[in-house]
Symmetry: C2
Subunit: 334 residues, 2 copies
């Protein structure tokens, strides 16, 4: 061996062998996956995910949206777009949740939160996640306060961070970190970030969050096949709230796969086997119909920092598979 | 904005906007993909990949193996397992290769290199890549010398690096860096490495390679959906030779997708469009038959640092889709 060889003390195997007990894993399979099927999951699938989360030691299961029935009609959308207490109860009754807590997402301007979110003691939910774009932060703060007053834990998810100018981001984080939420999330809605950007931004979020006793979370999309890598990078940079979904089920290119995340986390409370079982029983059979996951049109919207809706449209059109046509169109519209 | 906000000078957008002109991209679609179909690609597909590589500004196309006809019978294996000059000429004749150079891989103990590799002036190839396991390094050095004496550029690929003890790795690198090759490759044959391990190992390889004027290359597999992320990490750590394949085509979970890599590299000599065109015309139609790409059995072999052959076998069996059965078996055999 040459003299320059790093010493055994610097061996590369030491860093990931342990674990950080503060890390909370949030499964949002049904919530984010609901964007691919108008939240029309069967009770069987939702209960399957719930049982797998409980058995796998997951901290939170986000079971759906608290969205407005005026904007999202129950005729068109399934139960998990509204998460009525009757529906929640039908699923959780008689189940052994262990340490698993349930949460739901309320979108700014899409939720009748004042009436639809009941006091916590009347709900199966224990946490509300408020999702907003940068211009909706004042409303998000009101929503977070409303949920906290009703007794819930809260998180705030600032969506589409890759489209926000850095100076505005700082101002937005200053406000969000006065929300009293448990965590503020870095959300890569468009699947645009490279790993070094995630590292930089998580550190930036932490600078804002830590003085207020808040944690930072990460929610990544797979347009550049980086959802898992960016989630790991977020963890290494200090994020303690981590989103993932079974099989990566989620809008467009999908999310960080829970099975990869659990393989990486070495906290013995997490178990991989129940997730594999749920995958083969409940998630894999949905693939053909829902059609999420990495493909070239999602790569192109990720690369050019666009909402995936044009790729979803392309994939549903007769031009599906014509990558060059989609690429030319995106560049033309640039 | 709070006072702690990083200054605009440290803005996260600055690092990847430029490019490093030394980086050489090597397309190994036909070579690595040949492990999924016994190298039986039609001339049409091979010519399609060649034209796309030339038009996209790729530096090297690895068109196949220089493997022994005694071990790999031409009755069973296609032309790209042996890369006879007649076959090469049939593909390249009349093509405008621009700056594209052709190479082939010779495996230690699987190649009749002395007779089958002709002098460079009689060949369409300009580089030979020698692939070996740690115990085959002395043979690999002989093979590299033979190719160099015949006038070729060479690279040396040390396979399955994730199974090599670090002290042996140092000794192996010391030898390989006396080979006179252009580059020594970090090869993650089992798709086992996390990103931080890649960073550590590329730096270690560089410590050995640089004093001999050699470069470091990276060849990654996608078992943990990290092939692209680890390739980028390798580049950031200093690797200047980078392998990728169109659509990630390759053994098992596949390789770093060339289309993602070109989206990341900002050298204007690289063009994405010809690769997208080749994907839709030649590569996508192979998906159903060849069946490469991330799935749960490959994730499990990657996680537990195993050769993907048991996962390939599982996927070809009637137990395909039964992730739990495969997981239990791998743990039982641990």
């Amino acid at each position: 061996m040459s003299e320059e060889t790093p010493s055994p003390q610097s061996s590369y195997s030491t860093n990931w062998v342990g674990f950080r007990p503060e890390i909370k894993v949030l499964d949002c399979t049904i919530r984010d996956g609901g964007l691919m099927n108008d939240s029309r999951f069967s009770d069987d699938v939702v209960r399957g995910v719930l049982r797998a989360c409980a058995a796998a030691g997951i901290d939170y299961m986000e079971i759906g949206y608290k969205n407005s029935k005026k904007l999202f009609s129950p005729d068109q959308y399934g139960a998990w777009r509204h998460c009525d207490e009757d529906d929640l109860r039908r699923i959780v009754e008689g189940e052994d949740l262990g340490g698993l807590q349930l949460c739901a997402m309320a979108d700014a301007e899409k939720s009748d939160y004042k009436t639809d979110i009941l006091p916590r003691e009347k709900s199966a939910l224990s946490m509300i996640r408020i999702a907003c774009y940068i211009h909706q932060i004042p409303l998000a703060l009101e929503m977070a306060r409303d949920a906290q007053d009703k007794g819930y834990d809260t998180c705030v998810n600032l969506m589409a961070a890759s489209t926000v100018q850095e100076s505005e981001l700082g101002a937005g984080l200053d406000l969000l970190c006065q929300s009293g939420a448990r965590a503020v999330y870095l959300v890569d809605s468009f699947g645009h970030f490279y790993t070094e950007e995630v590292r930089y931004l998580v550190k930036k979020y932490l600078i804002h969050a830590r003085p207020h006793g808040m944690e930072v979370g990460v929610h990544m999309h797979n347009n550049l096949q980086l959802a898992f890598a960016n989630t790991v990078e977020g963890i290494v940079a200090g994020a303690n709230y981590v989103d993932a979904t079974m099989g990566g089920l989620g809008r467009g290119a999908g999310n960080c796969p829970l099975e990869l995340l659990l393989g990486f986390l070495h906290n013995p409370k997490f178990k991989l086997r129940p997730v594999l079982e749920c995958l083969q029983t409940h998630i894999d059979p949905l693939r053909a119909e829902l059609g999420w996951g990495f493909d070239i049109p999602y790569m192109i919207t990720g690369l050019y920092n666009r909402h995936p809706r044009s790729a979803i449209k392309h994939n549903a059109s007769e031009d599906r598979g014509n990558h060059v046509a989609f690429y030319d169109k995106v560049l033309e519209d640039y």
